[in-house]
């Protein structure tokens, strides 16, 4: 594989994994907030 190939794989995987991680963190944060609110009630 040429260096440009490695660059493309790194950018593509990085972009997708970052997006996925961002979404998961936000979902889990929201879930924790909702659980916290329910417990407070």
């Amino acid at each position: 594989m040429r260096p440009e190939g490695w660059i493309f794989i790194a950018i593509s995987w990085g972009a997708i994994l970052s997006l996925f991680a961002y979404c998961m963190v936000r979902i889990l944060q929201q879930k924790n907030n909702k659980d916290q609110n329910n417990n407070d009630k």
Partner: protein, 515 residues
């Protein structure tokens, strides 16, 4: 009766992701990328994801939830709710039931091959096939296309079809949270584990035969990722990338719309849509791109893979991969994992395809879930028969064209215009952000209103003139297949007419009741 709801937010996201993650993620994407510029393919691919895929995701989630608030789970009712002054828009919505049903008819049969092959892998039934020709003969024997030493009748294939068909109808019968949500939650978990194990195993192959140093995994990744910059100047590459994004996200079929209709008014759609898309991309680009092509190059070399990639996605899945996995340790188990992961990907997609027709009968005709599933099961079981018994006449390809390509683009264009122009961008934007856990960048107001429809019109017109005209006019089809293809087209016209008639009956009854 209280409207059914999803059990959890993660459940609905995984259900939509399950619908999106299908055979295409593991078979079609690597072949498309390899054929269309390698790493350079990812530039139009990402452009299409942000300008076409994500807007369509958000549109379907939003109008689905909106329609669900009025008791509608399928496109005819939802479209009518958005544009109730137009008498005909509900008939355009018929595409949202017709399209998924048509795809279901052939998809469930293909899915059943995967179930069969996962058992064959464990039992070592295709172990004697050591060449590509033998593996093709095995597949054709199993499909009943020819009688050979491997299979003397279509009975084994039909048995696995029956099992697969029953699984699909039963899951839909069990409902949204107890059936679809549960299957997608556990199914996707197993799918990701199997795919990750296979990807790690493939990436660890290195250079399996030291006598052939070019046959290695790094060259396999290179085949997929080394950029061919000249490809970016080709309109065909841009269209291939747009098409791939379109099909991989399950947008424009009408199933996301139906899933989202079971959300409550204040459930988030923006983050959920984005997460479902991101989950699908992990399965496609990271896992899908790390299994088939690198494995095939490691065993068949850079010249062999070029021929294999041209052979199409099915050859990669049913011919190349079994041959490759036979050559590594624990090949039976890895073969089982490969076909089982594809089978799970198939099931999580096909149950979503079955749902619009079933809930249409439930919502609009007040059938119970049990009766609606039974009616759907009987009708589609009958419609599956021509595909099974006349497979070699090209019927599955014909159904794929109408249900999986033509209807998809037409339906997506209609819903985008309805959303951005009829519903109105102001109202649409507010609706998208109701209960939202994220704020969508404001640039998407412009993208959804102008860029996405323009993109869709471009795809629609280009495909129509360049690729669809020969298919529609049955050019390049062997003369002996033409009567079968005309027959299947008449069947499709009949199915569409029946669905349109049912929609007419529903609204006539509503009109009579309101008088």
């Amino acid at each position: 009766m209280a409207r059914e709801r999803w059990g959890s937010k993660l459940g609905v996201i995984l259900a939509v992701a399950g619908s999106a993650v299908g055979l295409g993620n593991f078979l079609v994407f690597p072949a498309q990328a390899a054929r269309n510029g390698g790493g350079a393919f990812m530039i139009p691919y990402f452009v299409a994801l942000f300008l076409l895929g994500l807007p369509l995701m958000w549109i379907e989630w939003t109008i689905g939830r909106f329609g669900g608030g009025f008791g509608h789970s399928t496109a005819p009712g939802i479209f009518h709710t958005i544009w109730n002054k137009n008498k005909f828009i509900k008939y355009f919505g018929v595409i949202g039931i017709f399209g998924p049903t048509v795809i279901f008819i052939y998809y469930v049969y293909v899915e059943s091959w995967l179930l069969g092959y996962s058992f064959f892998a464990l039992l070592g039934k295709y172990k004697a096939c050591t060449t590509e020709e033998a593996m093709v003969a095995f597949l054709q024997g199993y499909q009943g296309v020819v009688k050979n030493d491997f299979f003397s009748s279509i009975a084994p294939s039909y048995f696995f079809f029956l099992v697969t068909f029953l699984i699909n109808v039963l899951v839909v019968h069990c409902g949204i949270s107890k059936g679809i949500e549960r299957v997608c939650k556990y199914g996707l978990l197993v799918l990701f584990i199997f795919a990750a194990v296979l990807a790690v195993r493939v990436l660890a192959l290195g250079t399996p035969d030291t006598a052939k140093p070019d046959y290695n995994v790094a060259n396999g990744l290179g085949f997929l990722w080394n950029p061919d910059w000249s490809a970016l100047a080709s309109a065909k590459v841009w269209l291939a990338a747009s098409g791939q994004i379109f099909f991989t996200l399950s947008c424009g079929i009408g199933v996301i719309l139906t899933y989202a209709s079971y959300l409550t008014k204040n459930d988030d759609v923006a983050l959920s849509g984005l997460t479902a898309a991101a989950t699908n991309e992990v399965a496609e680009v990271i896992l899908g791109g790390s299994i088939v092509i690198p494995a095939a190059v490691a065993f068949f070399g850079p010249t062999g893979i070029a021929k294999i990639a041209k052979g199409g996605a099915f050859d990669l899945g049913f011919v190349t991969m079994p041959l490759v996995l036979q050559k590594v340790a624990f090949g039976e188990i890895l073969g089982f994992m490969w076909f089982m992961l594809l089978f799970i990907a198939g099931v999580t997609s096909s149950i979503s395809l079955a749902l619009p027709a079933v809930v249409f009968l439930e919502d609009e005709f007040n059938f119970s879930r049990k009766w609606a599933s039974l009616i759907f099961g009987i009708v589609t079981f009958i419609l599956c028969q021509p595909v099974i018994f006349f497979l070699n006449k090209g019927l599955a390809d014909e159904l794929h064209f109408w249900g999986g390509t033509f209807c998809l683009v037409v339906f997506a264009t209609i819903e985008t215009i309805l959303f951005g122009w009829v519903f109105g961008m102001e109202k649409a934007w507010t609706e998208m952000h109701t209960g939202s856990d994220i704020t969508i960048p404001r640039i998407y107001r412009f993208i959804i209103k102008y860029i996405t429809p323009a993109f869709l019109f471009f795809i629609l017109s280009f495909w129509f003139w360049q690729e669809w005209t020969p298919v529609i006019l049955l050019r390049n089809v062997p003369a002996e297949n033409v009567p079968y293809l005309i027959g299947i087209r008449l069947m499709l016209v009949g199915l569409f007419a029946v669905l349109a008639f049912l929609v007419w009956v529903v609204w006539r009854r509503k009109k009579v009741r309101s008088l």
